[in-house]
C-alpha cells in the first residue's frame, strides 16, 4: 500500500506516483495500481486543501484566475476537478448557465 501522507508538494508526490506506477505495471499488479490512484487523490486533496477553500470564496472569474496564477503548473493540473466546480458555480451565479 503506497504511503503518501508525508508529501507536502504536488511535484514530489507525482514523481513518487510515477515510480510506484512503473513498478506496479512491471509486476502486473492491478491492485497496486488502484491503490496508487486512490492514495494519490487523497494526498492531493490534503496538500491543496487551502487553495480549494480559497477557490470556494471566489465570486467572479477574475478572482479565480488570480488564485490560480499563484499555483504551479502541477498544482493547477491536479486541481482541475475543484477548479471546474468553482468555475461552474461562478458562471451559474453570474450568467445563469
Amino acid at each position: 500500500m503506497p504511503e503518501y501522507g508525508r508529501f507536502e508538494k504536488v511535484e514530489t508526490l507525482l514523481e513518487r506516483v510515477e515510480e510506484d506506477m512503473r513498478a506496479a505495471i512491471a509486476n502486473g499488479d492491478g491492485d497496486a495500481m488502484g491503490a496508487i490512484r486512490r492514495e494519490k487523490s487523497a494526498a492531493i486533496r490534503r496538500i491543496l486543501a487551502p487553495v480549494i477553500e480559497t477557490q470556494e470564496g471566489c465570486s467572479n472569474m477574475a478572482e479565480l484566475c488570480a488564485v490560480m496564477k499563484e499555483c504551479s503548473a502541477a498544482e493547477r493540473a491536479v486541481l482541475t476537478p475543484f477548479t471546474k466546480v468553482a468555475t461552474d458555480r461562478i458562471i451559474r451565479e453570474t450568467a445563469g448557465v
Partner: protein, 331 residues
C-alpha cells in the same frame, strides 16, 4: 364523372395529377413567423451564405433567400439567443470570434449546411489568426471542412487565457474535417476547457518545416488543464504530430492513429501529459495504436492513466498482451 368512377367503368383516362402543394416555407418572407424557422420559442435560425447574390450583413438573416454574408455578423446578431442555430453555406473566408460567456449568448450551434464534413469549407482569413475563436459556453460546431493555417489553429478553445470571462467549456465539435493542407499548424487548440467533446472528426496533413504541427494540442493553460474531455471516434493521420492533449480525468475512446502516414510520420502520437501540463487519471480505450507502444515511440501517458483495451501491434512490450490488446499505459 370523376377519375375514380371512370376507372371503375373501364374507360380510358388521362392520368390526372393533383395540383402541387407548397407548404409554408418557414424562414421565407410571408411565412407566419416573422422570425423564421425557430429551434426554440425564442431561438432563431440565422442563415449565412457568402456566395448568395442577396447576401448582406444588413439582412436580419432569418430568410434563407436573403442571408447574412458573414458568420461574424450572425454571431454578433441581436437575434441570436441560447439554442439558436447559425446555418452556413458557402466558403467561410473570415476569422470568427464568439462573445465571452458573460456577454453571451451561450449554447449556439454553428452548423455547416452541406451534406458532409467536406463542405462548406472554412478557410479563414489571416494566416496567424485562428479561424474560429471560441469564448462562450456550450457552443456546438459541426459539418465544416477547416483549412489549416500556417501560423494559427483552425479552432481555438479559450479558457481565461485571453480574458477572465473567455470560457469555452462544454463545447461540442463533431463531424468536421480538419485539413492541414500539408502546411497547417494545428487543428484544435485548447487552453484548458473542461467538458469538451470532439466526436467523429478527421485530422490530416498538419505539417511544417520544424515538424511542430499538431492535429490537437493543449497549449497555455492559465486556469486549468482540460478536465472531463471526450475525444471519441476521431481519425488522426499523416501529420507531424497527433494529439498532445494534456488533460485530467478524460476519455479517449475509439480513435484511429496513423503514426506513419502516406506523406508524414508522427513524432508524438498521443500524449495525455507533458512536463508543462502534467495530465493524469485519463482512460484511453478501444483505440488503434500502431508502431512502438512506448514513450519513446510517441505515446506518453499521465502517471495514473489507464490505457486499457486498445489495439497495438507492439506485442514485445510488457504493456501489450500477446493478443495485441494493451493492459497498461505505455512506459
Amino acid at each position: 364523372m370523376n377519375v375514380m368512377a371512370e376507372q371503375m367503368v373501364g374507360r380510358p383516362t388521362i392520368m390526372q395529377r393533383e395540383p402541387q402543394f407548397f407548404g409554408g416555407q418557414f424562414g421565407v418572407k410571408g411565412s407566419d413567423s416573422p422570425l423564421g424557422w425557430r429551434t426554440h420559442p425564442d431561438a432563431v435560425i440565422l442563415y449565412v451564405d457568402s456566395g448568395h447574390p442577396n447576401a448582406l450583413d444588413t439582412n436580419d438573416g432569418t430568410d434563407p433567400t436573403a442571408p447574412l454574408a458573414t458568420v461574424q455578423a450572425a454571431v454578433n446578431s441581436s437575434l441570436l439567443t441560447p439554442y439558436s442555430e447559425i446555418r452556413v453555406s458557402g466558403e467561410v473566408a473570415e476569422d470568427v470570434v464568439t462573445p465571452d460567456y458573460a456577454t453571451g449568448p451561450n449554447y449556439v450551434w454553428i452548423r455547416g449546411n452541406g451534406i458532409s464534413r467536406y463542405s462548406p469549407a472554412w478557410s479563414g482569413d489571416d494566416a496567424d489568426t485562428a479561424s474560429l475563436d471560441m469564448r462562450a459556453v456550450g457552443w456546438r460546431v459541426s459539418g465544416f471542412r477547416f483549412y489549416g493555417k500556417t501560423g494559427a489553429s483552425c479552432l481555438v478553445l479559450r479558457h481565461t487565457d485571453s480574458g477572465a470571462n473567455d470560457i469555452a467549456i462544454r463545447t461540442v465539435v463533431h463531424d468536421c474535417y480538419f485539413d492541414g493542407l500539408t502546411t497547417g499548424l494545428r487543428g484544435i487548440e485548447s487552453h484548458g476547457c473542461y467538458d469538451v467533446w470532439v466526436v467523429n472528426c478527421t485530422f490530416a496533413l498538419f505539417n511544417n518545416v520544424g515538424n511542430t504541427a499538431f492535429c490537437m494540442e493543449t497549449t497555455t493553460t492559465p486556469l486549468a488543464i482540460p478536465y472531463r474531455n471526450y475525444i471519441l471516434g476521431c481519425y488522426f493521420h499523416d501529420s507531424d504530430n497527433g494529439v498532445e492533449w494534456s488533460m485530467n480525468g478524460s476519455f479517449i475512446l475509439g480513435c484511429l492513429f496513423q503514426p506513419t502516414g502516406y506523406a508524414y510520420a508522427m513524432i508524438q502520437v498521443l500524449n495525455t501529459s507533458t512536463v508543462a501540463n502534467p495530465g493524469d487519471d485519463n482512460i484511453v480505450a478501444e483505440n488503434v495504436f500502431p508502431g512502438d507502444y512506448s514513450i519513446a515511440g510517441g505515446y506518453r501517458p499521465g502517471a495514473a492513466d489507464a490505457w486499457l483495451g486498445n489495439w497495438a501491434d507492439d506485442t514485445a512490450e510488457a504493456e501489450v498482451g500477446d493478443n495485441g490488446i494493451t493492459i497498461a499505459r505505455p512506459t
